[in-house]
């Protein structure tokens, strides 16, 4: 009975969603002189950045990204608080996987390559698809692989929190530095260079590298906390 009511409700919702999107159409250029055109134009002319998504996330909506990084930080802090244990209750890892010697040597071989790929993705965030969040996640998967393969692999919480707060503080400091030239918070105050160069785009690559370090440290800490959860 309950499932029947739910299916009826969802059918009605699906019908209205389908009707709305059928009328909306697919693939039409909706806004003649909307915010899209101005972003695409200014990305080339003012910022000399190839990837428009990066220029929107870090420059035009940089304040939004600062809020996003704060939400991620709050989530990791809340997770640590919810799973909080007194010191004498924590001990050995609770989630254990038996790994064969093939997995152990293979992950030792793959670990530097994964870290390198992650660093490449967040350093080249303004030139190709990718950026700080994606690259940081790739770096964290490298640490996840090592934590799953080795029982005694551990990461220092002090180093993680240092990297995290360092990156966060420098993000805000780069934002405040925008005031120096009489600009606004997170304004691009550095020379933008030539397009499609590695050193171009002003503060955009620097901020994305900081975001990459911050996300990598936060996700590694999150994985570490959950793996050491004990019943």
């Amino acid at each position: 009975m309950k499932k029947f009511i739910v299916i009826l409700m969802l059918a009605a919702l699906g019908f209205y969603l389908g009707q709305t999107f059928y009328e909306l159409g697919f693939g039409n250029a909706r806004f003649e002189h909307g915010v899209k055109d101005s972003y695409l134009e200014k990305t080339v002319s003012d910022l000399h950045v190839a990837n428009t998504v990066t220029s929107i996330v870090v420059n035009f909506r940089g304040f939004d990204t600062l809020g996003e990084v704060t939400v991620l930080f709050l989530a990791v802090t809340a997770l640590g608080g919810i799973l909080y244990k007194k010191r004498h209750q924590t001990g050995a890892r609770s989630v254990l996987f038996s790994s064969s010697s093939i997995v152990r040597s293979g992950s030792k071989l793959l670990f530097p390559a994964i870290i390198l790929l992650g660093v490449y993705v967040f350093v080249h965030g303004h030139l190709s698809p990718g950026g700080g969040f994606q690259g940081g996640t790739i770096v964290a998967t490298g640490f996840l692989l090592m934590l799953l393969a080795y029982k005694d692999f551990s990461v220092s919480h002090n180093v993680l929190s240092f990297v995290e707060s360092f990156a966060g503080i420098f993000f805000v400091l780069f934002g405040l530095a925008g005031f120096i030239g009489g600009g606004t918070f997170l304004e691009n105050f550095m020379p933008v260079g030539t397009m499609n160069d590695l050193f171009s785009g002003g503060i955009i690559p620097i901020v994305y590298i900081l975001v990459g370090f911050k996300v990598a440290a936060e996700l590694t800490g999150l994985i570490y906390t959950v793996l050491h959860e004990k019943d």
Binding site: G18, V44, I82
Partner: protein
């Protein structure tokens, strides 16, 4: 891309995103296990992301990246704004899922069950 494929895509992507949203809501409303409810909410998340990116698509558009030699291709590019918003939304969705799963771990530690029917003080 020929027109036939575009016709299929036109209905396929919106239908897929609406179906993902409905499947996720169905799981969140009818399933009893807390893990399955969180999986349902994540599926809703994925459907909404797909829908937002699909709204920004322009017919025969390319990715909003100015590769060398294509610096004047702005007229043919898809809308980058929904893509940037989805980038934000993915991270927020991940954070929400992580906190929800940690709450589930805490509930399991307290009640030794994941079924919401057996957790008495959640009933109303």
């Amino acid at each position: 891309m020929d027109d036939k494929l575009f016709e299929i895509m036109q209905f396929g992507i919106y239908t897929a995103s609406i179906l993902l949203i409905l499947i996720g809501l169905y799981a969140a409303l009818t399933k009893k296990s807390l893990i399955k409810i969180i999986i349902g909410l994540s599926i809703v998340d994925a459907g909404i992301h797909l829908m937002l990116v699909a709204i920004g698509y322009v017919k025969m558009g390319t990715a909003p990246i100015f590769s060398p030699g294509f610096e004047d291709a702005a007229a043919k590019m898809v809308d980058p704004v929904p893509q940037a918003l989805v980038l934000t939304a993915i991270v927020i969705g991940f954070a929400v899922t992580a906190v929800a799963l940690s709450l589930v771990i805490r509930l399991y530690r307290h009640h030794h069950t994941l079924e919401i029917d057996e957790i008495k003080n959640l009933k109303w």
